[in-house]
Subunit: 185 residues, 2 copies
């Protein structure tokens, strides 16, 4: 999937993929009917993980507040992204030219709607500031999470737990030292 | 430049650009020697604006603290992005296959280094929390700003000022209501 991300999906041939993986083209065709099949596999990998995380958080079966569930879903989204970086990158770059991409975009929109709902619920329960548009908050919050695909690499200097800590701390608690700026809210 | 972003720079021909702009190919060649010339123009547009903003903030000529200058540069980066969305989008997608792109990446890295330095200075002066890696803070902070290229459109529902307010409020003050979570720092 790294090849799709580096060369672009359209510019990548099954021959390129075979060379990258060190196998023959016929070995790939033995498992996948087409390049689109491979794309679906990668997108489903990312979408299935994210759907699991978001469904658990949006479900609220055990009475945990929306604020805690939102904070948890941000943390777990970072973990999914770290563990499935190439597939999530592919998902975020989908533009919708093929049925597989259209379907992935539909599933992405469902996830976005669930997350925006969780932000609204956390505002409604009084745990989140209410002076910003919930839609804007949701976009910026997950914009920060998604920006990780641009530079996060599993072999890099930052482990997933530190990155998840940093994202949740910045987003929910802010960068300012509260004792230093008592006037800031 | 919107066409470069939609179709991809490599897949866009001068003929496509002429059709998009409603002019003849020779009219384009009258002004630009090549497609790369056009790319340089767009990237310089974004880079010149951002360099101006970052140089002013990193310079510290009037004794303003690093925290205020960092907060200001975040706000002004959002404004530059809103006013030059197609050019900034192009800049963020550059991967470095041509001399023009290599040069743009070099200028981008310089900007990133200046911003990381400003984060470190704000931590050193005691205004920013010191429990997170400055490098990570800088990446996430500007990752949130840059994520705007994915959805921000001048004709959309959010004006640049509200977006700049939301980004700076979330990043520096956090989403949690402080009175609701007194234990959170």
């Amino acid at each position: 999937m790294g090849l799709f991300n580096r060369k672009g999906y359209d510019a990548t041939s099954i021959g390129d993929l075979a060379a990258e993986l060190g196998v023959t083209k016929s070995a790939i065709y033995h498992h996948f009917a087409s390049k689109e099949d491979l794309l679906r596999l990668a997108l489903d990998d990312a979408l299935d993980e994210l759907t699991m995380v978001v469904t658990a958080a949006a479900g609220d079966t055990d009475g945990t507040g929306a604020y805690e569930r939102l904070r948890g879903v941000v943390r777990r989204s970072v973990e999914v992204l770290a563990a499935h970086q190439p597939a999530v990158t592919l998902l975020l770059r989908v533009r919708g030219n093929t049925p597989v991409e259209t379907e992935a975009l539909k599933r992405r929109r469902w996830l976005d709607d669930q997350l925006a709902g969780l932000v609204r619920a956390a505002i409604a329960e009084g745990a989140l500031r209410d002076d910003l548009s919930p839609d804007l908050v949701s976009r910026l919050l997950f914009g920060m999470v998604n920006s990780l695909v641009e530079w996060y690499r599993p072999e890099g200097t930052h482990d997933p737990v530190s990155v998840a800590d940093a994202v949740t701390s910045i987003a929910f608690d802010g960068l300012s030292r509260r004792d230093h700026h008592p006037g800031a809210r």
